[in-house]
């Protein structure tokens, strides 16, 4: 006889955004999540609804239709697709564990494909900027303890990272900064966002004006005169004021989002932002950090870097890692129509990539590993429903600042479902067999 009772699980790690809060209290009864405390709206929505709307059996396309299949059949079919492909793409990885990424890269080596993570469509330009300039950064606790100036640039954490401001920045309590009173918060954006409403200063800039404004700030910090009266919609005096605020703070930080990386200039915007912060360190202590989105996108980059040397967009078709963003990036590979099969893990490229890409994806065999139906599942050849990292299965994930945290399951998955890691390892084992056969 099983006695069912409510259990409150403390210190649960949220697997939603890059803030990776690790203080949720999840109440569980009969393998169901009843309630979540300390979570933000995003986290609540994830933990309370994760079990709605999902496949419970693998699907394999037969006679043009996706039909229930056994796990072994789905593994075999996937391995055949990948082992026979000339140039497969393995894409996703940011909403699953490092263990899955590690298995995925090994699989990419065996099938000689391109492995790319979702960085490619969010902070890819950030990494290109880092290759050029470097990056002056820290773990989030440093900002909590020391920062007296916090700038959010092209980022709206109130919606994208709801607890970021409270846990780590302007509204947090640190050793040397006790409250909001000890800090100044500035928001730079093209519109008055909800984050801007919390700020001490909001600077509204014209869309695509980031590069010019950053350059002007660099000039002002060096003491150069600004010759235009208004730059990117901001009066020169205002820019000089902001420069003065940056130079005179004791410890400043800029957080930047897709407002910088995905607007005109892209990695050049990041270059100039990284340069600005580097320059500021001649005058005071100043840091910069990208607002990474998915809960383990940082981990996907780290794993890729330690196994291959490169953080994303790695082409293994020659047998060794090759990196050339713009050429080996997922969107480019798909738009050119180069790849002849795709494995999609914990991601939805059909929903987020350009339409030409979806067209090509629809033409080639796609294997999708995801807990939920997505826009990519209907065009797939094989669909693996899987367990949810941080809820039904554990695994190591990296917060946006690279702090590694080990997630744990809080409930059991529905019977018969496998984790991403198990599925990938099983496909890999089968691919190895097929490849051995091909060579013989």
């Amino acid at each position: 006889m099983t006695i069912l009772s409510k259990t409150i699980i403390p210190n649960v790690i949220c697997t939603f955004c890059g803030s990776t809060c690790d203080d949720l209290q999840v109440t569980v009864e009969d393998e169901k999540v009843l309630s979540v405390r300390s979570g933000c709206s995003s986290s609540l929505s994830k933990y309370l609804n994760y079990n709605a709307d999902r496949y419970l059996s693998p699907l394999v396309r037969k006679d043009g239709e996706l039909r229930d299949a056994t796990y072994d059949d789905a593994v075999c079919r996937s391995a055949e697709i990948l082992a026979n492909a000339k140039y497969p793409l393995l894409y996703g990885w940011s909403s699953t564990s490092n263990e899955a990424s590690r298995a995925g890269i090994e699989l990419a080596e065996w099938v000689g494909g391109v492995i790319d993570n979702t960085t490619t469509v969010c902070h890819g330009p950030t990494l290109l900027g880092v290759h050029d300039i470097g990056e002056v950064s820290a773990s989030l606790g440093e900002i909590m303890h020391r920062a007296d100036l916090v700038v959010y640039w092209g980022s709206n954490p109130v919606h994208s990272h709801p607890h970021h401001i409270m846990r780590y920045t302007s509204m947090s309590t640190g050793r040397f900064r006790l409250s909001k009173k000890n800090r100044t918060m500035v928001v730079v954006d093209v519109r008055r966002t909800d984050t801007a409403k919390l700020a001490d200063q909001f600077i509204q800039i014209t869309p695509n004006g980031d590069y010019e404004l950053m350059c002007a700030l660099r000039m002002a910090i060096r003491g150069d005169e600004l010759e235009q009266d208004v730059i990117s919609g901001v009066p020169a005096e205002k820019i000089e004021e902001l420069a003065e605020l940056m130079v005179s703070c004791q410890f400043g930080v800029i957080f930047f989002g897709l407002g910088l990386t995905m607007t005109q200039g892209r990695h050049r915007n990041v270059d100039v932002a990284l340069s600005l912060v580097r320059d500021l360190n001649a005058r005071t202590k100043f840091l910069i950090m990208p607002m990474r989105g998915h809960f383990n996108v940082a981990g996907a980059n780290e794993v890729s870097a330690w196994v291959t040397g490169f953080p994303y967009a790695v082409d293994l078709s020659q047998g060794y890692p090759r990196y050339n963003p713009g050429d080996t990036t997922a969107v480019d590979v798909l738009v050119r129509g180069d790849c002849d099969a795709a494995l999609v893990v914990a991601s939805d490229p059909v929903a987020s990539f350009p339409i030409e890409v979806s067209r090509h994806l629809a033409k080639i065999p796609v294997i999708t590993i995801d807990p939920h139906p997505s826009a990519t599942t209907p065009i797939s050849e094989v669909v693996f429903p899987t367990t949810v990292v941080g809820i039904e299965t554990g695994g190591c994930i990296y917060r946006m600042d690279g702090v590694a945290i080990m997630t744990r399951p809080v409930v059991s998955p529905p019977p018969g479902l496998h984790s991403d890691v198990e599925i990938l390892r099983d496909i890999l084992a089968h691919v190895k067999k097929l490849k051995a056969g091909q060579q013989a």
């Binding site: 950064s137 870097a305 293994l316 890692p321």
Partner: protein, 565 residues
């Protein structure tokens, strides 16, 4: 039963007093034994050198800082790639090789154990994930305590026992092996963009000096009976005239040693061995430092040798890296870690015609040649800071051959050449001494009783090099030595052949060594409750999510010791 017999090699096993005698090494189930049966597999090592597997005491191979270096430098990897094979994983070099490549390249050099020497406590999990992906070699990591708030607070309040229990807790939580101290107090100052100078400056907000931190942690190290001594990167690294800080740091713990036993390891001394008062007058402080080490048994040191190449400098000493950025104008990474430490990375090319670089090259070699006892000075490049570890054979040649040194000396900056003592040093290392500075001595310093030698009961980690010491004079034929050392004829790891003729043939997963020093339950409970009270104030991670479980390591090897407290 898995048996192996290495026949007829010239064995160099300095710990057991064997210096190039022809002998057989018998191996059963991963250990060296007296003898094996007739069914044992045989490796014919006739005309070859047999040594214990190499043990690297200080090499940055894994963790957040190393990986940040990889991310910073795609240009470093493009020129040096490794193909995927049926046995080995793909990867890239060059100065910061990817993890799998790191394991393979060490094995090819005949190395079987490597320690990662700078792990932020908060990021230990990352380090271990990378170490798990570093095949073949056994490994471990040294967590950073020299700028840790709690350590500084306990020491300031004179609570040594509590500090010891705290360090023991942290070593368990991070699966760490030894206490690493980097620029004590100075990295905390860098948290504010500030610097400390010498051993007596006070750390901002913590009212403690570097001297007190080093002494305190040295005492803690003894209380916990840790297998290695404190492992110290001194203050004032890379500053002009810093040799005095190095000697002061050594001297600061002189009274803590009994029977002249080592109580402190000063790492990459080359970087902290400079005389002079300005850049134009930089000189080598190696003679002074070597003189101190020769007269005092409580110190061990490693070289941190510079090799002329384009490499990537990386250290927890964030302030130093900022200075190097300002000097070089190269790209710069900085990463401070809450409560504990920091880090910085700058690519750098050492040039033989650059005066300071040439002096640096000389300091490292002078240290190794002027310190008389090879058991207390070890060969490192502080990989990748002075150069990457694949350059070890080159350094061995400089140590073994005056001719090799003269050849290099002729090509370096002439002002530096005239200033160095190196041209006048005749000493040439023997193979036996090389075995000491690359394996026996390092294993001894790390307290790894089953490594660094080939006596009965030792781990069957063996390197076989195709050099006949009776026919080759390393002083003259150093090129042949270098070639042979680059690609071991055989590397045996735990009794399994992992390298044959310089190629990988098998890739087992090595062990991760970590230390569990048991303190009294009462003390542990007291310190744990103190930590629990302040954890939420100090960290952005919950205490329960901070510590690593044993099961998180792929191949955990716990070393249990009993603490005095």
């Amino acid at each position: 039963m898995n048996e192996l017999l290495i026949l007829n090699g010239y064995v160099y096993d300095p710990l057991n007093g064997i210096e190039g005698e022809r002998a057989d090494i018998s191996i059963r189930d991963g250990k060296v034994v007296e003898s094996v049966g007739t069914g044992a597999k045989i490796i014919d090592a006739s005309g070859m050198i047999v040594m214990p597997g190499g043990v690297d005491i200080h090499s940055h191979i894994a963790g957040s800082k190393v990986n940040a270096g990889r991310i910073l430098r795609p240009e470093d990897h493009e020129k040096d790639v490794e193909r995927h094979t049926a046995i080995t994983r793909a990867g890239t070099g060059h100065s910061i090789p990817s993890t799998f490549t790191t394991g393979y390249r060490y094995a090819k050099l005949g190395y079987t154990t490597v320690f990662e020497p700078a792990t932020p406590l908060l990021k230990a999990r990352h380090t271990h994930e990378e170490l798990d992906d570093t095949p073949i070699v056994d490994k471990g990591c040294f967590p950073l305590f020299g700028n840790d708030w709690r350590t500084m607070e306990y020491l300031r309040q004179g609570q040594l026992e509590e500090c010891a229990a705290y360090v023991a807790w942290m070593l368990r939580a991070t699966k760490g092996y030894a206490i690493k101290i980097v620029n004590p107090g100075g990295v905390e100052a860098w948290g504010w963009g500030r610097y400390l100078v010498g051993l007596e400056d006070r750390v901002p907000n913590f009212d403690i000096t570097p001297r007190e931190i080093v002494r305190g942690l040295c005492k803690v190290n003894k209380m916990l009976h840790l297998p290695h001594t404190i492992h110290v990167h001194t203050n004032d690294l890379a500053k002009i005239g810093n040799y005095q800080t190095t000697i002061d740091t050594m001297d600061s713990v002189r009274d803590l040693s009994s029977d002249s036993k080592p109580v402190i390891h000063i790492t990459h001394v080359q970087f902290t061995g400079r005389t002079g008062s300005a850049w134009h007058s930089v000189g080598s402080g190696a003679p002074e430092i070597a003189d101190y080490v020769n007269k005092h048994g409580h110190v061990t040191a490693d070289m941190g040798q510079v090799v002329f190449m384009n490499t990537t400098t990386m250290t927890a000493d964030g302030g130093f890296q900022y200075m190097l950025y300002q000097l070089s104008g190269n790209k710069w990474m900085n990463f401070d870690v809450e409560v504990e430490t920091g880090a910085g990375i700058v690519p750098y090319r050492y040039r033989r015609n650059n005066y300071v670089n040439a002096v640096q090259w000389g300091i490292g070699l002078e240290l190794a040649l002027l310190i008389k006892d090879p058991w207390r000075v070890y060969m490192t490049t502080d990989h990748p800071n002075g150069g990457d570890f694949t350059k070890y054979p080159k350094i061995i040649c400089w140590l073994m051959s005056r001719k090799a040194r003269e050849k290099s000396l002729a090509r370096i900056n002439s002002i530096a050449r005239n200033k160095l003592d190196l041209p006048d040093i005749d000493r040439e290392y023997s193979f036996s001494e090389i075995a000491v500075v690359t394996r026996a001595g390092t294993a001894n310093a790390l307290g790894l009783k089953e490594k660094g030698h080939l006596g009965v009961g030792a781990d069957a980690d063996v390197a076989v090099y195709n050099i006949n010491p009776t026919k080759i004079d390393p002083s003259r034929d150093y090129r042949l030595v270098r070639r042979a050392l680059k690609k071991a004829a055989f590397t045996i790891k735990d009794g399994r052949t992992v390298v044959k003729n310089g190629e990988i043939v098998e890739t087992p997963i090595g062990r991760t060594y970590w230390v569990d020093s048991a303190v009294s339950e009462d003390l542990n409970a007291k310190v744990e409750s103190q930590m629990r009270k302040t954890f939420a104030q100090y960290y952005t991670v919950q205490m329960d999510n901070y510590a690593m479980a044993d099961s998180e390591l792929a191949n955990s090897n716990r070393i249990k010791v009993k603490a005095e407290v």
